[in-house]
Symmetry: C2
Subunit: 620 residues, 2 copies
Amino acid sequence: MNEHERWQELGQQLRVDSIRCVAPTKSGHPTSSMSAADLMAVLISKYLHYDFAQPQNPRNDHLVFSKGHASPLLYAIYKAAGAVSDEELLTFRSFGSRLEGHPTPALPWVDVATGSLGQGLPIAVGIALAGKRLDRLPYRTWVLCGDSEMAEGSMWEAFEHAAHEGLDNLTAIIDVNRLGQRGETMHGWNLDSYTERAQAFGWHAIAIDGHDVAQIDRAYAEAVSTSGRPTVIVARTLKGKGVAAVEDQAGAHGKALDDPDGAIAELGGPRNILVQVSAPEGNGGPHRFDDGELLLPEYQTGDEVATRKAYGDALAALGAGRGDVVALDGEVSNSTYAEIFAKAHPERYFEMYIAEQQLVAAAVGMQVRKWVPFASTFAAFFSRAYDFIRMAAVSRANIRLSGSHAGVSIGEDGPSQMALEDLAAFRAVHGSTVLYPSDANQTAKLVAAMADRDGIVYLRTTRAATPVIYGADEDFAVGGSRVVRSSDRDDVAIVAAGITLPEALKAADLLDEAGVSARVIDLYSVKPVDGETLRAAAEATGGRLITVEDHWPEGGLGDAVLDALADTDEPPRVVKLAVRWMPTSGKPAELLAAAGIDAGHIVEAARQLVGTATAGAAER
Amino acid sequence: MNEHERWQELGQQLRVDSIRCVAPTKSGHPTSSMSAADLMAVLISKYLHYDFAQPQNPRNDHLVFSKGHASPLLYAIYKAAGAVSDEELLTFRSFGSRLEGHPTPALPWVDVATGSLGQGLPIAVGIALAGKRLDRLPYRTWVLCGDSEMAEGSMWEAFEHAAHEGLDNLTAIIDVNRLGQRGETMHGWNLDSYTERAQAFGWHAIAIDGHDVAQIDRAYAEAVSTSGRPTVIVARTLKGKGVAAVEDQAGAHGKALDDPDGAIAELGGPRNILVQVSAPEGNGGPHRFDDGELLLPEYQTGDEVATRKAYGDALAALGAGRGDVVALDGEVSNSTYAEIFAKAHPERYFEMYIAEQQLVAAAVGMQVRKWVPFASTFAAFFSRAYDFIRMAAVSRANIRLSGSHAGVSIGEDGPSQMALEDLAAFRAVHGSTVLYPSDANQTAKLVAAMADRDGIVYLRTTRAATPVIYGADEDFAVGGSRVVRSSDRDDVAIVAAGITLPEALKAADLLDEAGVSARVIDLYSVKPVDGETLRAAAEATGGRLITVEDHWPEGGLGDAVLDALADTDEPPRVVKLAVRWMPTSGKPAELLAAAGIDAGHIVEAARQLVGTATAGAAER
């Protein structure tokens, strides 16, 4: 058997195994796997450099299935590479198996979860960026893309960035099998549609027959030898290739084959080819940037400093202290203050322009290679990347996101720039951490803590300068809070964070004059939340809490407090002050007042709550 | 003065007024306005057909500022058109003014809010689609785009769709002023970068000098006379054009000019040109599709029907009853069952492929023209369009979104396809409605109600078939709930919706056997929520509630219940059952059990709560 015949045989094996693994649960996407089998057979036989025994080898290539639903093909590859047994292959999609419906890093050879289309390529751009500019290693990132997912704008963010950065270590393979889930794609088998777009975006593009192993071989060779720009291989394929009942048939997407045994026979029966995938050459480890002393910025109490500025200062300091910290920003680094890091550590700074999906995806890609990314933009614009953030949690990614310009307190720019849903969105991410510091020294400490925190870690910062109220020597733990003001006998507790903390403190002063003693809690850690301090406040005040947040009423700080106190013997009464009106332009103070979250409204709510509760108690 | 000189003078006036309006609050983006002033001067003088006295004239052209931060220019246009007084112009960005920092429909001539970049063009695709396929009127949609926002993938979703649909009634104008907020764009003044990309995407592209009114004039004429495809005008401009201190200068983005009077003098001083913008020609109204009888589908109690199937059935029925209802789907219509509508009403169905941002944007565009859009995809994938949904609320848009395949109960596909944050995300949208029906007849009634509901209305449907428990004659109001099971003396109340309602009912049966009487509430309206029924349940059970949801613990049904009961005299104890583990593949029942939200876990929680409460009471 010559090389080409061996590749063809391997392609058939990958098809057969894709069908076999779907059969037990009758669930999965065999036809989407069969179209790309020859493309992958040649790749793993000759071009992929990967040490399956050492998935953490820093010199390994990366193989990302952007079309995650072709997981049967990926797992069939793992079997062919000897990494997964045939027995395990047949556990596909059953409860308890690592071989999930779409790939996840439950498997050590999977870098990131895919399955939400249009994400694998942008993440791969992050891996390739890490390879070129951080690790400085010759590994290549290969991405198998579906043709349907080319309709996702995020794919074009990736095309744009990969070309802009000259990522010749990145190869995308588009499996143009013509058929989406419910019918034909916009472009069918018009390969020119894809090559012309890719070329216009600055890529080298090669159109081939995706079932002709000689053409596939030549295309990979050309990709590897192309320098200065990434290559895309646009491959015409047949969905369900090799099995007449499903080949190029509509209505065969995402379904087990009706007659798997017949299909396997049609493909020439099972095979047991074991591929010796080449390990990467050489031994050198990744480039490392120097670690230095970590000297966090310090601010004088009484000064006014915006927490976004403290973020930038602290991030730059963290970068000086730790060589593994990198920063990315979405073309607003002069607003988020990521520019301070950019100036201090230009080699580790990545300008992602106004492409928030690519911004977050690049961070996910960089953490694949153990870098510690901090990505920033206006908090409102992380909503653009919410699907990527959701999926990053499925990827078990460790990324840190900093959103500035939160809430109505930004003022004149108006609601399009005001994050008012970010706390809700980030809280509803599995395993996430949500921080909302109130002063600059606290921000600095929390930024340092973020670097060591796993999962999706979000920091919400404020546009306006706010008073520095904590000394630079104070420590702030994730999951903690600060009782900023209290007495032996508090009538009410005000729970605030960020921009509302100064308002709460002003309110407490005013209430004091009116004979009402208010405890003030700085709930800077919105998730995890300090339930103990909240419960103590509930008890001390006879169950009278006010929460105040520059956020919609749903899912933010108020709901975090309610959740922490829900399953207690006697839950307190909680009055939630939040933004219940669609904001406009105006001065920050005008908008805080109009939204009902300034000191005056806190005073009013507290007086009402204390009065009502007293009245209520009298009635009982 | 000849025509060209008049246009040049008008351009100067628009610049002067952009500077003038920013001066009072010292807030805004004059330089981003000045670059596009000549482009807009020619447009409103000769090409725009718009009746400012009748903004609702269906034949009006549409002018969308995708670069919403150029609002000073837009408002200067309104002044030049006589729609806004000079006095009002100077209220720009001050509290109470309609002239907000970024355009919103507070002004009758603004179709949609912009300011989150990359949204205006995709929304304009929706307007142009409405013009061509629904209204069937000759109005043209003009979109002013920034060059920086071309990095947003959503712009390329729009390019792809507009070409695919042959939208020759759409003209995009890219103001290539080279400078973003913090520095140069990826492509600077390389106009070919833009024209080549646009051409590869199937557009007609014209590169011009954006300050040469003759070239601008010719480009518009060419755009208007181009048929079969949309046109993009790529205009080389100078940011801050005409004022030496800021012209083509970095660092001048989003700032009032230091010396506005000097700048105005440099531009030749204020002018008071009044432009007679041409009203649209002709009188015919929009095409209307026939209304018919609304015959909602009816399902037999005891049968098992998936709520997603009921969505499709009901939507098709609604389409038969109402000619204004239209449907869109993101290439999964055979899963969401939007395909039933597509088959019944092909003229009013829009296939948006796998481009969720464009999917939602098109719906927003269509409602501009008073159509009643329903857009569907997997619930998880609306997270891709979260920024568009957020902005749709700022646009005061009336759109209906249906997300299928919610939660772990989808089974084998795994977490990438499981919406577990959608309730949180949609609740945190201003003025939104969030519905999560539990049976097919209820779904049908709610789908009908959605058509008449303003704002962002979200329906969460379930993949699996669930028992039909309500008769087809029952009514279900938005904001309501159903007490499905109760007795005179309930020990505990279980609050559920969707897939967890059958589990709650099973649990109630099991609890009954154990001597515990459980009230079961179907909280199908998650927002607004039926506080009265919840309070009654709290009172009846001595304050013992269990919420159970196929969703992360944050921001969903449980938090909606807590919120409704937070500010009451004696809030109940609430045990929240939700998904607290990263799900895997598996059978739906296995996953509901593993997530702790099946009948068994409800029983366990109820017994513990009832026992604990009793014990607690004894202790007190």
